[in-house]
């Protein structure tokens, strides 16, 4: 009988062990196939990700993205963007909210940062944040509303400190009726979602909402880092299912939990100051350059990236063409800024006050150093420009009634720019390419500017063989919208030029 007991115990133990092993195996494979979504990105910080060792506790940055669609599906927007830098050595976390309406450069164009997700998914969002703040974005965690609620519930709610009392009884975005009194609150998943989404009633508006979002994230971090029970982790994995994506793999998440959890003891949060602006009926948030600079420096220090040139060089070698042209553009616009303000004083031309985007900011010092020479050049060209302007007025013009921004429309029989391309397939939009050179040549011809005196603000496709570009001269005194089309066997040629009151692709 004793032997039978031994047999049954032995069998039970073995089966249990096998069960646990296979469950863990099953769990890890399912979870990683559900949530781990590696992305292959060539951001401006190159292959920094490969050099990071979570084992050694290298400082890292993580972009938390709250989306309004199910993760993994196409389209949608990022409602919440919070960049965290985690430094386990100094046991600290820095958290920056990026306002979703932030006006910034997204892959050649300028738009709200939250539209990057719809255009180029996670990858472009990460790149845009890198451009805006000029710090590397190593990891991302993408969470949708459903899994957010689930995560908070599994953690038994989050604790927040509410600044002001509000009730969600008559709000547009929800039918839920919840009271949020002032003071310390413990919120369940549904309440936390409302708390993080509400903006209308907040006297500080979006900034207030961002603060509430950070509070929630902070509490999730705190609760999550103290997770010790295996069943809880399993529960969370169950809840998040396919609605959370990240480029942390499971081993890295494990390391994160073990090596980085103490960092959450000391969390500092930042918001990006700026001002509201409405351009062509669309609301944008214009970040303050100095603020961005300050935050960027803080984060870089926190990430222990003290040698600024290190990454600048890397960028150069990695993708020399695109970064060159990028820098050129920003330099130019900076110069024009200075020049423009001088002109404004002279009262020679109308000029709108401008805000610059973050990526341009980085080169402002350089630009200022170059100023004396630069301004001289620009002034000379402005004279030429004025002469041309006089010519333009003699040409055939048509009154434009549709667009109030259009002063006049010029249609002329321009000759195509002779092409060197043998196999033309359509507009490529690749800066530095032969196609780009020829296209911009056609644009400058249409606008009547020399290429070196032209700033290209915006180029968008108009069918596969035509583009519409918004350009100005360097002093930004003359604004043009140029329509360029490809003529088979000949090359690009301008088809129509609209002279604009103001540059609508700039603010």
């Amino acid at each position: 009988m004793g032997k039978k007991a031994v047999l049954f115990i032995l069998t039970a133990c073995t089966v249990l062990t096998l069960g646990v092993i296979s469950y863990v195996f099953q769990f890890t494979t399912t979870t990683s196939s559900n949530i781990v979504k590696e992305i292959d990105r060539k951001g401006k910080f190159g292959d920094r990700l490969e050099e990071i060792s979570l084992k050694d506790g290298d400082p890292i940055s993580v972009l938390v993205m709250g989306t309004d669609t199910r993760a993994g599906e196409q389209g949608g927007q990022t409602d919440t963007l919070v960049l965290l830098t985690i430094n386990p050595a100094s046991k600290s976390v820095k958290m920056v909210s990026i306002p979703r309406d932030t006006y910034t450069k997204i892959e050649g164009g300028l738009d709200k940062i939250n539209s990057a997700y719809g255009v180029g998914d996670v990858e472009m969002t990460m790149n845009s944040v890198e451009n805006l703040l000029n710090v590397p974005v190593d990891y991302y965690i993408e969470v949708d509303m459903k899994s957010f609620t689930g995560i908070v519930d599994t953690l038994d709610g989050v604790e927040v400190n509410n600044d002001f009392e509000f009730r969600t009884h008559n709000l547009e975005f929800t039918d839920e009726k919840v009271d949020f009194p002032k003071g310390k609150l413990t919120l369940d998943g549904k309440e936390a979602l409302l708390y993080a989404r509400m903006r209308e009633l907040d006297p500080r508006g979006d900034l207030g909402r961002q603060k509430r979002q950070r509070q929630v994230i902070e509490s999730v971090l705190q609760k999550g880092s103290n997770l010790s029970s295996v069943t809880k982790i399993g529960e969370i994995a169950q809840v998040v299912g396919k609605n959370v994506n990240t480029n942390f793999n499971l081993f890295e998440l494990w390391r994160l939990q073990s090596n980085y959890k103490e960092a959450q003891e000391n969390i500092t949060d930042y918001e990006i100051a700026g001002e509201d602006k409405t351009i062509k009926g669309t609301y944008y948030y214009m970040p303050d350059k100095k603020e961005l600079n300050k935050i960027s420096t803080t984060l870089k220090n926190h990430l222990e990236l003290n040698d600024k040139n290190q990454y600048a060089e890397k960028e150069q070698t990695q993708d020399p063409e695109s970064s060159d042209s990028e820098e050129e553009i920003s330099k130019e616009s900076e110069e024009t800024n200075v020049e423009a303000s001088r002109k404004e004083q002279e009262g020679s031309n109308e000029h709108k006050e401008t805000e610059d985007t973050g990526s341009e900011e980085e080169n402002s010092k350089e630009a200022e150093e170059n100023h004396p020479e630069g301004s001289h050049e620009v002034q000379e060209k402005t004279k030429e420009q004025k002469e041309k302007e006089n010519k333009d007025s003699e040409e055939e013009t048509v009154e434009n009634r549709g667009d109030s921004n259009v002063v006049k429309v010029i249609t002329e029989d321009w000759a195509p720019i002779p092409t060197k391309q043998e196999n033309y397939t359509g507009v490529t939009f690749e800066k530095g390419s032969q196609d780009w050179e020829e296209m911009t040549a056609a644009i400058s011809k249409g606008a009547g500017l020399t290429k070196s005196d032209m700033i290209v603000w915006w180029v968008s496709g108009d069918g596969s063989k035509s583009v519409i570009a918004t350009v100005t001269n360097k002093t930004q005194s003359n604004n043009y919208r140029v329509y360029v089309s490809w003529v088979d066997g000949a090359g690009y040629k301008p088809t129509k030029v609209e002279v604009l009151h103001k540059n609508d692709k700039k603010s």
């Binding site: 032997k3 047999l7 032995l10 069998t11 073995t14 089966v15 096998l18 069960g19 092993i21 296979s22 469950y23 195996f25 099953q26 494979t29 399912t30 196939s33 559900n34």
Partner: protein, 465 residues
């Protein structure tokens, strides 16, 4: 869904693990004889105390067996056991089986008395061999294997009945080992150890050779090692052995008559074992044994076609018996090991789970083809592979423990057989289980497997003698 998979995983792994441990020598029952028993002791018993030898009748039903009979007769006549009679029952063969028997045995008609307890088809004539007076032939009308065995019981005269297939041959020490086991009056039936005839070594009696066996035979060698040295051994220790193999079964004649002989069915060997279990339910001291050192070799199918026929027949037999004995199983499912293992292990886990797991995998492949399919492949690889290798290795070790080793040159063949077993063979047998279960309800034919027509006796018996 995941819970269901987990439950089935645990169930399907529990029984193999249980048997794996339980078959180890440490769990040997006190009355089980050790394999370590000195061969000389048996020799001594054999030579000096023939009066202690119980009478044994070997029954060999034959239906169109000309190909293998020579091997069988060569083996029977060389068995070193005095109290032995051998009865070949010609079950209305349509070929030259009877002529062949006459040629080999020099038959002359003789009168054999019967007990008149079991009914069977009409016996045309009974013969005795002039060359070997203890070998008899019963020529009867065709009635199937069960009917032939019932006739054999009727015409046999000894206390112990041994049923063999025509293609089974016995080792010299098999009968003394049976004799020893049945000296315990409570043992009413027993199964002998069956190895693959094609793997019988020509040079050594305690070695298996894979040299002349194709891959299909090699995995069956492993299969038999696992079935006998792990599963059957463990089940006997639980008093739950439901199948005494028709290839080599040993019974007290009295018990066979008490349970009413064999039933005409596709799986008469399972049927008779379960009938004896029903009898044991009334006589608590009775028991069924497994005699690990009573060794027989039986021919196994060498082609996929024959293997399919054989395995489908086995599966149909399983299903037939679960239906036939449903009330016995129902009453004793939790009180008798045999019912518990038959219903849970063989039927629920072995049969139904095959369907359910297949459905689960297919549904998952359809629902989420990208990830879950890969998951299942890795999942399967992970534990089936490890566990399958362990199971095979333990079976080989058990074989060694009970006196059968492989030549070291067979190492690679054995290794490749293990891989083949895990990656291919078990899927195929799962298919047999599924297909056989369904086809039972549509087609209940016997599906007799053709013999290979090889000769094993010449070298084999010479070496064994």
């Amino acid at each position: 869904m995941e819970i269901l998979i987990m439950v089935f995983f645990i169930l399907s792994v529990t029984f193999p693990v249980l048997h794996l441990y339980h078959s180890l020598p440490w769990f040997r029952e006190s009355n089980e004889r050790s394999n370590k028993r000195e061969a000389t002791l048996k020799k001594w018993m054999m030579d000096h105390e023939p009066e202690d030898e119980k009478g044994m009748s070997i029954l060999v039903p034959c239906f169109n067996e000309t190909g293998i009979l020579e091997t069988s007769i060569e083996n029977m006549k060389s068995l070193p056991y005095s109290q032995l009679e051998v009865l070949y029952i010609n079950d209305g063969s349509t070929d030259d089986t009877l002529i062949y028997l006459d040629k080999m045995l020099q038959l002359h008609p003789c009168k054999i008395s019967t007990d008149g307890k079991l009914s069977h088809e009409k016996v045309k004539e009974t013969y005795q061999s002039e060359l070997y007076p203890n070998i008899y032939v019963i020529d009867k009308e065709n009635g199937g294997k069960a009917d032939a065995l019932n006739a054999g019981i009727e015409y046999s005269s000894k206390e112990i009945t041994i049923t063999l297939d025509a293609d089974t041959i016995l080792e010299d020490m098999a009968l003394p080992a049976v004799n020893d086991t049945f000296s315990d009056e409570d043992v009413v039936a027993a199964g002998g150890m069956v190895h693959v005839l094609q793997a019988k070594s020509k040079h050594s009696s305690n070695r298996l050779s894979l040299r002349n066996a194709n891959m299909l035979l090699r995995v069956q060698v492993l299969d038999f090692l696992k079935a006998f040295y792990i599963s059957k051994l463990s089940l006997v220790r639980f008093k739950g052995l439901a199948v005494i193999s028709g290839a080599f079964g040993i019974f007290r004649k009295q018990v066979l008559q008490d349970v009413g002989g064999y039933r005409k069915t596709i799986g008469e060997d399972i049927d008779i074992t379960l009938r004896i279990h029903e009898l044991i339910a009334k006589h608590k001291n009775f028991k069924i044994s497994f005699i690990s050192d009573a060794v027989g070799f039986t021919e196994l199918p060498e082609t996929w076609k024959d293997l399919t026929k054989q395995r489908l027949r086995w599966q149909k037999a399983y299903i037939d018996c679960i239906i036939h004995f449903r009330s016995f199983f129902g009453k004793t499912i939790f009180s008798k090991a045999v019912s518990f293992f038959y219903v849970f292990e063989a039927f629920l886990i072995g049969t139904l789970a095959s369907y359910i797991m297949t459905v689960i995998v297919i549904v998952n492949m359809i629902n989420a083809p990208e990830n879950s399919y890969l998951n299942y492949v890795f999942f399967y690889m992970f534990w089936i592979f490890i566990f399958g290798v362990i199971y095979d290795v333990v079976a080989i070790k058990q074989g060694k423990h009970y006196g059968f080793t492989f030549n070291w040159k067979d190492g690679f063949r054995l290794f490749s057989a293990i891989i083949f077993d895990i990656l291919v063979y078990r899927f195929v047998t799962m298919y047999f289980v599924m297909y056989g279960s369904i086809s039972y309800f549509f087609n209940k034919k016997w599906n007799k497997v053709a013999r290979t027509g090889r000769t094993y006796h010449n070298k084999a018996t010479k070496n064994a003698a």
